[in-house]
């Protein structure tokens, strides 16, 4: 058996085991108001990852930046609330993996809770998943980054920095 194949089996079995454990041990709690799906821990996690995924895109002013991160978290919550329940559960499991310490360490290589992890370390974890040989981790990377990016670029507050003027108004378009 090639070393690559052996390693896959080891990581595969370990990964599957910790995923299963996370699913049962780390059940989501009640949504943190005004959110409809995310519990407080997951919301904090999304906020910490969003600060890294949207580095360079969020407003520089600390107060506006904090407000933007709050809006991104709320939009993320709205987005997953509108997913088919089976898909929503998969996203919750993914967040659970990153919250539950053993799975976070094995699958994401991070010791500390994300809220206490530096943006550089979160970036390194995202890059590892992005380049991973395992489909499951690449899928996890894409799900979490795309949900966060969707939650920011649907927000008019993001449009100024990217030169998008917003949709036209019909009254103006009709007379032009």
């Amino acid at each position: 058996m090639s070393p690559g194949r052996r390693r896959f089996l080891q990581v595969g079995v370990a990964g599957a085991t910790v995923l299963a454990v996370a699913h049962y041990v780390d059940r989501p709690r009640a949504p943190a108001l005004p959110l409809r799906t995310l519990d407080a821990a997951s919301a904090g996690l999304v906020r910490a990852i969003a600060a890294c995924v949207l580095a360079g895109a969020l407003p520089a002013n600390p107060q506006s930046r904090s407000m933007a991160l709050g809006e991104v978290t709320e939009a993320f919550d709205r987005a997953i609330t509108g997913l088919a329940p089976a898909v929503r559960d998969e996203i919750r499991d993914l967040l659970g993996v990153l919250h539950f310490a053993p799975t976070r360490l094995v699958l994401a290589g991070m010791w500390r809770p994300l809220a206490e992890t530096s943006s550089e370390e979160i970036g390194a974890f995202l890059s590892r998943w992005r380049e991973s040989r395992f489909d499951l981790l690449r899928a996890g990377y894409q799900a979490i980054t795309q949900l966060i990016q969707a939650s920011w670029y649907d927000n008019p507050a993001s449009w100024g920095a990217i030169g998008y003027p917003g949709p036209p108004t019909l009254a103006a378009a009709g007379t032009s």
């Binding site: 890294c52 360079g56 899928a139 894409q142 799900a143 969707a150 670029y153 019909l170």
Partner: protein
């Protein structure tokens, strides 16, 4: 003031039931129940209702109309699309854009309306037993639907995003043409993907559905068809439940829609899903198999001048350079088109995160996008995907990109980069996790030749789910007859994109309209005679 035909129709007293508001079990009886209100269901409902049959048109999504179409992604995607425009294949490697509203995908598509290519019809006649689908036999149905939906090649100048595609083709001596669009008095705003705010787009929402309702049909919206109730080889009813919003659990009140005949048009994921949930007989194991997507890959160019690809008709130029000259059974052919650069759509499509992603987003006004839609299902190694049911009964598509398709993806990346540089691009980047912007055609070529072709690295999307209930004469290899009748059920038909035995090889809406018109005309005659 823009007239809203839905608001006006409701005021005229259309029969419309919002299933999400039903508080008690309800039984209703019709001649025909049509499940799904997109391209197939809309056309079928109009033809059946104007023939004098009592028709119910059932739609899972909401009845939304121009008064609320505000050209904002954050409002349109959650309300009008499956899974907030984020429906994915089982392994998450392909994102599928599909409508979930009255009018289905026709309410939110980009209006491209091609006839089924002659080479596709020839392949179906030769390999799938559809000998009756000759060009001459189909011509009147295409012509009828083109007239009904004001389909004509776009005569207005293309927007810059599409014109770059045209100019690149011209420089390289490649063929290109103007896309036929289903619009009447189009304002050229560019927001077709969020519901047409001016009702110029001749979607089912503003054409066949109002006409069916004027003829007495009943629209049941926010209603999920849970299953067909089967007895022997017949369906007796369709059981539906209200669904208040995407992601919500179905309501408790049960809606039982009885009918003499059932027309399924819930799309190539929904229709096989409904039949599987109903445990429809499937002795040859063909149901939900051979599902195709036109897997689509993207090439992003930065142009020296502004492109502003969010303005103007999103798709108006195409090139069949790599389709028309390719034998259907040879290496994967692909159609080249463009796509709009709405901020959310671009935000989730461009690879990377953090500063890298932010720098790319800051170039949005100069971004030009070419897409390549691969023709799947023609080569014998390309058998498509399979619709499965999750534990909760919801359908999911298992679709694997094969080496045959990946070879096509690599050639498509090469063709798109060559075209974009020929049109004057400063930088080109294939949309792939490992790609970097290339400054010249030779640099891009070198890079694309080395890119690993694998799922969840190359970004693959689809807006065209097809197949899964293939039409055919041999019941061992198909699901419905040439007349769209389910082989093993007397009174169930399929009138949507799931009847195609391969992908179409062109944006499929006009192919669906034409088949639905052909099938429904025959069905109406047979039901009226009965």
């Amino acid at each position: 003031m823009i007239r809203d035909p839905i608001v006006e129709g409701l005021a005229r007293g259309w029969r419309v039931i919002d299933a999400a508001t039903l508080e008690r079990d309800t039984d209703l009886e019709f001649d025909v129940v049509v499940v799904g209100s997109g391209a197939g269901g809309g056309v079928s409902a109009e033809i059946l209702a104007t023939a004098g049959l009592r028709v119910a048109l059932v739609e899972e999504g909401p009845l939304a109309s121009s008064s609320e179409f505000r050209m904002r992604e954050r409002e349109a995607y959650p309300r009008l699309y499956q899974d907030s425009a984020g429906r994915q294949t089982r392994d998450k490697s392909i994102t599928i854009l599909q409508g979930r509203c009255v009018g289905g995908s026709t309410t939110v598509n980009w209006t491209s309306s091609f006839r089924t290519p002659a080479s596709t019809l020839a392949h179906w006649r030769e390999h799938h037993g559809l000998g009756a689908l000759t060009d001459d036999a189909m011509q009147p149905w295409f012509a009828r639907m083109e007239q009904r939906l004001a389909i004509a090649p776009w005569a207005v100048a293309p927007n810059e995003n599409n014109d770059i595609l045209r100019r690149g083709c011209e420089k390289l001596g490649w063929s290109s043409g103007a896309i036929p669009r289903n619009v009447k008095g189009c304002w050229n705003l560019g927001y077709c993907g969020m519901g047409c705010p001016t009702n110029a787009k001749q979607s089912m929402l503003v054409t066949t559905i109002p006409s069916a309702l004027d003829a007495g049909a009943t629209l049941v919206h926010r209603a999920r068809a849970m299953r067909l109730v089967l007895a022997d080889d017949r369906a007796t009813a369709c059981e539906a439940r209200g669904v208040s919003a995407a992601g919500a659990e179905p309501a408790r009140a049960r809606l039982l829609l009885r009918a003499r005949h059932f027309v399924l048009a819930a799309g190539a994921i929904g229709t096989p899903g409904l039949l599987l949930r109903s445990r429809a007989p499937d002795p040859s194991l063909t149901l939900g198999r051979r599902t195709f997507l036109h897997p689509t890959v993207v090439s992003a160019a930065i142009m020296p001048d502004k492109v502003e690809g969010w303005r103007g008709a999103p798709q108006s130029v195409f090139s069949d350079q790599f389709l028309a000259h390719a034998a259907p059974s040879g290496p994967a052919g692909f159609k080249l088109e463009s796509g709009p650069t709405y901020p959310l759509l671009v935000g989730i499509t461009l690879p990377g995160f953090g500063e890298e992603h932010a720098r790319r987003m800051a170039q949005l006004p100069n971004l030009q996008v070419v897409i390549a839609l691969l023709r799947d299902g023609f080569h014998e190694s390309c058998r498509g995907g399979r619709v499965l049911l999750r534990e909760d009964g919801s359908p999911v598509l298992d679709y694997e990109m094969t080496p045959y398709l990946w070879e096509g993806v690599r050639r498509a990346y090469l063709a798109m980069a060559e075209l974009q540089f020929a049109a004057g691009a400063a930088e080109v980047m294939p949309v792939h996790e490992q790609a970097r912007p290339a400054r010249s055609w030779s640099e891009a070529r070198e890079q694309v030749q080395a890119l690993p072709m694998r799922a969840l690295a190359a970004r693959v999307v689809s807006a065209h789910a097809m197949g899964g209930c293939a039409m055919g004469s041999d019941e061992r290899e198909s699901v419905v007859t040439m007349d769209g009748r389910y082989h093993h059920l007397q009174n169930v038909s399929v009138h949507d994109a799931s009847i195609f035995p391969t992908s179409v090889g062109a944006n499929p809406q006009l192919s669906i309209y034409a088949q639905a018109a052909r099938l429904s005309t025959a069905l109406a005659a047979s039901l009226r005679g009965a």
